[in-house]
């Protein structure tokens, strides 16, 4: 794991009012990740910077270009396998200059860099970038060690106490209280500092809009941050809140209070931890409502033991092809579509975020809203039937492919008129 924040901050400064790139063909997003798991979905960004240690234990960057979701979902391609961190600004300048000059401006739908990379082919694109970069490499925008060190000093560690990594009180609470133990298993995460853990506060209470928190809950959460986590609170793109630095000795008290405030559903990473866009209830671009679908699926799978048995599963819902709910990279993705003025839902299977990202495959014709919980149930049935021991949903899908799921879901629908 590498802490890329100092370089990210230097990139942020460099990109602020960058004169040459003030009017690009379209929006442009850079994602930075320093972990093996990649929580930034770097392959779905215009530029994705993946930090890693090379074989000399030096910090290097793998550069991905041309990813994006939306109406034309494409995962990024590696244009450079190994870039020394000093060169990240000049290399990005080369990438963006090629895009600025050659990206399409005649059609907003085709103006993103992903379309240019596809049109040229990644090899030709990378060649042009490399050629451009030869002129920019080692220019004054090359980052110095002194500047990196200076900026890095702003990212100080929290004033941690020196603590043992075990606490007898905590261990016995886990042993004696299964509900607490389940919460620890799903919502509490490892920490690099002994005696501390990171905690995800679930905003995925079953039957409630994913990611919603009331005023009272927000006040409570702010108090949690002050009391337990150095006054800091983080928001995850999975629509939950994270207290990053909680002492092990505080976990039980925090859990009790979180539970009393509806913030301790022990479902992080499970089927009901749904990413869901605002959809037709709130968004004027929507083709269909998404929140009621999420709620209906959560109610269908309201049995926690069953959820634990199903295990890790990401279900993402978007109300239109703008893909704010990242449905393409959900293990199960749901997309709201409009057909002759009524709302339908297209299901994709096998998407994944992370370093081994994948775009989902469309299962088949779309479904009506009231069919959706049943459809998800059938997908789960196939998984439970087919899985090998310890195999996650996504791995089963990757191993056996989409076909068995399709057969089971559409089997009984065959006689009905296909919707799509």
């Amino acid at each position: 794991m590498i802490d890329p924040r100092a370089i990210a901050e230097i990139i942020r400064q460099w990109s602020t009012f960058h004169p040459e790139f003030a009017l690009l063909p379209r929006k442009f997003k850079i994602a930075v990740s320093g972990t093996k798991e990649d929580r930034a979905i770097i392959q779905a960004h215009d530029i994705g910077l993946e930090f890693y240690h090379d074989d000399q234990q030096k910090i290097a960057i793998r550069v991905w270009v041309g990813g994006g979701l939306g109406r034309t979902p494409i995962l990024g391609s590696v244009v450079r396998e190994h870039l020394e961190w000093q060169h990240v600004l000049t290399y990005c300048e080369a990438v963006i200059r090629v895009y600025n000059l050659h990206g399409r401006r005649d059609n907003a739908y085709k103006a993103r860099i992903k379309i240019l990379v596809k049109a040229l082919g990644v090899e030709e694109f990378a060649r042009q970038v490399e050629e451009e970069w030869q002129h920019l490499k080692d220019s004054p925008n090359t980052i110095t060690k002194a500047e990196l060190d200076r900026v890095a000093q702003h990212f100080t560690k929290m004033p941690y106490d020196t603590l043992p990594d075990h606490d007898a009180g905590f261990d016995s609470a886990v042993a004696s209280n299964p509900a607490f133990a389940a919460w620890v298993r799903r919502n509490v995460h490892k920490h690099q500092q002994p005696g501390y853990r990171a905690v995800t506060l679930s905003l995925k209470t079953h039957g409630q809009a994913p990611g919603d928190a009331s005023t009272e809950q927000m006040h409570t959460v702010a108090d949690f941050a002050d009391e337990y986590s150095f006054g800091e609170l983080r928001v995850a793109h999975e629509q939950n809140l994270i207290l990053a630095d909680v002492k092990i000795t505080d976990l039980y008290a925090l859990w009790e209070k979180a539970k009393a405030n509806g913030l301790a559903t022990a479902n992080i990473g499970l089927l009901t931890d749904i990413i869901c866009c605002p959809g037709g209830d709130f968004c004027s671009l929507a083709n269909a409502k998404s929140i009621p679908i999420a709620e209906a699926i959560q109610m269908q799978f309201d049995d926690m033991d069953y959820l634990y048995d199903i295990g890790d599963l990401e279900l993402n819902i978007s109300g239109c092809m703008n893909a704010c709910g990242h449905h393409h990279v959900g293990h199960i993705g749901v997309l709201g579509v409009d057909k002759d003025g009524s709302e339908w839902y297209q299901v994709t299977l096998g998407g994944k975020q992370g370093n081994d990202a994948n775009l989902g495959t469309v299962l088949g014709p779309s479904f009506a809203a009231d069919e959706m919980p049943g459809v998800v149930q059938k997908l789960i049935d196939v998984y439970v039937r087919e899985r090998t021991a310890e195999e996650r949903f996504i791995d089963t899908v990757r191993r056996i492919g989409v076909a068995p799921f399709k057969t089971h879901v559409y089997g009984e629908k065959k006689k009905e008129v296909a919707h799509a």
């Binding site: 040459e20 009017l23 063909p25 600025n100 401006r105 110095t144």
Partner: protein, 206 residues
Amino acid sequence: MPKSSNLILNQAIVEDEWTLVSLPAGEEVVKKQAGKVVLFKLTGEASTTPEQIANTEIPASGKILVPLSVWVARQPELAARHAAGEVGVWLDTHELLETLAASVADINSLPLIAVHVERFADGRIFSIGNLLRTRYHYKNDLRAFGDVLRDQLFFLKRCGFNSYLIRGDRSAQDALASLGDFTQPYQGAVDNNQPVWRRVNRTAPH
């Protein structure tokens, strides 16, 4: 009373010494996509016909700013005036700098290069300015004209432009003020290639 000049050169509003030579209107092929007229030409797209080039009227005397395509095709008749320092060249943002570079032995024999930006949102002009200064080492006046408004000026300046013909319906006086929009930019660019960390000693926090 003649309208006052809208041309900024360096930090001042000046009279334009150059006569802009335009191509005669050609048969513009109207391209449509999803019902909308296509507004941008792609980089490298050919856009002038031999007839347009041949029919371009070049004033008999004075300093002239000619279209790149005319410059390339009609160089013999411009040679003497070029030698006298009376020929500048302008190009559109979709035209290739390579064409310009190949057309003249010494790019610095042109006292003026101008880049025409058809629409405000066309940011290619910034890269073109940058490349002219850093790649082609052009040292003389570099002018932006067309849909040039005050919001581009600071960026144009940073990309190597030193002359701006502000769109006719806007005030050059107002635009002039924007050249000082920011005192200290973060990143190195053409006007000052040093990023902030090589210019200023920003001490660490305590």
